[in-house]
Amino acid sequence: MVLAIETENLWIGYMDEEDNILWVVRGVDINVKENEVYCLVGESGCGKSTLGYAIVGILPPYATTKGTLRIMGKEVIVGDTRNYVETRGKLITLIPQNPGKALSPYLVISDQFYYVLNSLYGLDRKDSYKKARELLQIVGLDPEKVLDSYPHELSGGMQQRTAIALALATGAKIVVADEPTSSLDANLRLQLLKLLSRLRDEMGLTILMITHDILSATRICDRIAVMYAGKIVEEAHINEVIEKPMHPYTKMLIDAVPVLGVKKRLVSYLGEPPRPGEYIMGCQFNKRCPKAMKICKVEEPRPVYIGSRRVACWLYSERVENHE
């Protein structure tokens, strides 16, 4: 079976003014199956958005890469060469973070549909209008109200739905949703998640959701990958993660959010994730980790596979016993 998104030891970094490379994503291996909803969770600055940009093909020119990225079996990143021809829009599309900023403020919605549909399929204005109508109905908007409006004339929720309709207009089956819920209020958030999971079922989408909101993730995801300081520290099915987080960082994320119906004390750990380029020795989490051991300060843990789960923590590594 062809994997929708597959990365092999993918590194992504940005060049600063002195041509030093600050690695933001450091050796990530993920594989997203078709028709799966896969979540990338982590604090801001952990590299999840950068990974998302690399997948949809909007890394800035000063970015550098190592490793491999394949989309539907097609090699998109190999080493430092990136080739997104026939990938952007055709195979993979983006649901943007802030729909208010992601729609061009100078174009009416129908024009924005026209440019997408014309670029990808050569549709003329009339056909693109028809297609736009269908798509807006699918996401639950009244096309008559939306098509001739400018984005600023729509409400936040409508903008978000319009952005989703535009993302779907590309016809790509793999969707990267970059923090789609973070700019919406609570009830819109739930609506959006329902919409996404409906679209997944109806249109057979594969969704890679990037979020810092682990609660949103639980509502829709099949599998979840927790990122910290550019690495994936834990990957598992969503239920397993919620019920029994293995990595102390995952546990911290879950402990920090309230769950309805469960009475618990909210805990937050002190400290900040390391900034790109300022990585510390050993496990990147060792300064904040309540279970830090001696080895954590010396060597970065390698991922350990336990059943279908993967975790990069010395707590689960056999080598620890030998070491201590």
Binding site: R88, Y106, N118
Partner: protein
């Protein structure tokens, strides 16, 4: 229409106040400058009775009255649309200024078409190739072009052309060709008039003569357009909506022009509109260097001659031009940017 009546009324009111201020100030400055308009009006009389002739001229011009009354009368006169008669040339100021204004505007418009189009094209290319050697070169070029003094550049161009091809584009039109082909100005914009009359000999002559000064005047809008469009587009390329458009697979050309450049147009119009008014001064200086008729040449010829009606008329004209360009830039911005309402 994104422009409200309220805005227009307010704008006109403030413009009127500014114009009145300019009339009063320029009148006071010119009248208190050395030189006597009455003497010139009387025709520089000599001899024993000259003093009576000058006194008579002074009464005719109303210069014998107290200054506040002079100012009041003069202001009301100009506001009623009558700019008076030139002391030096003895023809209505409006006629002189109109003739000069069309000549200067013709030069200005041609320069602007050259400067803005080349400036923006280079600016966009520069923004797309941020950090490259081309970009660095363009940045330096922009600074040099936007800041080179135009009268100096004008002299340089004349020397260069004279040394190489022996044609400097001096003057506005070759009177010989004009006389031979029976060319009559209609609108005062010679390029337009030549086209209307189908007179290609004149058109080519006028065009060749306008080109060197136009290139000199164009340096400022070119440099400015390059810098501003590069900055705006480089900024817009980082905007979410441009990056998302790329991610959705929209063609590169459309992303650049319909998204990134489209987003730069409102601010670009604003800046270039203001610079248009600034370039008027440039055009007025350069046309003197190139011996063309125009507002600058008029100002140059009468500045020491106590021709207070013509000088004030010129100042009011330039002021109105500035205000008009500012207002136009605002209105254009409101039309272009759907989020702006005036």
């Amino acid at each position: 229409m994104p422009v409200s009546l309220n805005y227009l009324v307010k704008r006109i009111f403030w413009s009127l106040l500014i114009i009145i201020g300019v009339i009063i100030l320029s009148y006071i400055i010119i009248i208190s400058a050395p030189g006597d308009p009455a003497r010139i009006w009387a025709g520089n009389p000599r001899g024993e009775k000259a003093i009576y002739a000058i006194q008579k001229a002074r009464e005719e011009l109303g210069l014998d009255q107290p200054l506040p009354i002079q100012i009041l009368k003069y202001t009301l006169q100009i506001l009623s649309g009558n700019m008076g008669i030139s002391i030096e040339y003895r023809v209505p100021v409006v006629d002189i200024i109109w003739r000069g204004l069309t000549a200067t505007l013709e030069l200005l418009v041609v320069s602007y078409i050259i400067g803005v189009s080349i400036g923006i094209l280079l600016g966009v290319e520069s923004a797309l190739r941020r950090g490259s050697r081309f970009d660095g070169l363009m940045q330096s070029l922009a600074i040099i072009l936007a800041n080179a003094p135009s009268f100096w550049l004008g002299i340089g161009v004349i020397v260069l052309l004279a040394e190489t091809i022996g044609f400097t584009g001096y003057g506005r039109i070759d009177p010989y060709i004009m006389y031979q082909t029976g060319f009559h100005p209609i609108t005062g914009f010679y390029l337009l008039d030549a086209l209307i009359q189908g007179n290609f000999a004149v058109f080519i002559d006028v065009f060749l003569r306008i080109l060197p000064p136009a290139i000199v005047v164009a340096t400022y809008p070119l440099g400015l357009g390059l810098r501003v469009s590069r900055a705006l587009i480089a900024e817009n390329l980082n905007e979410d909506y441009v990056r998302v458009a790329v991610a959705w697979g929209i063609k590169r050309k459309i992303v650049i022009w319909k998204y990134a450049f489209r987003g730069a147009i409102p601010s670009l119009t604003q800046v270039m509109g203001l610079a248009f008014a600034y370039s008027l001064i440039d055009a007025m200086i350069v046309e003197v260097v190139f011996g063309r008729e125009g507002l600058g040449s008029i100002a140059f010829s009468i500045i020491g001659k106590s021709d207070y009606t013509l000088i004030t008329g010129l100042m009011v004209t330039v002021t109105i031009f500035y205000i008009l360009m500012n207002t136009l830039a605002d209105i254009l911005q409101a039309i272009i940017d759907p989020r702006v309402k005036l």
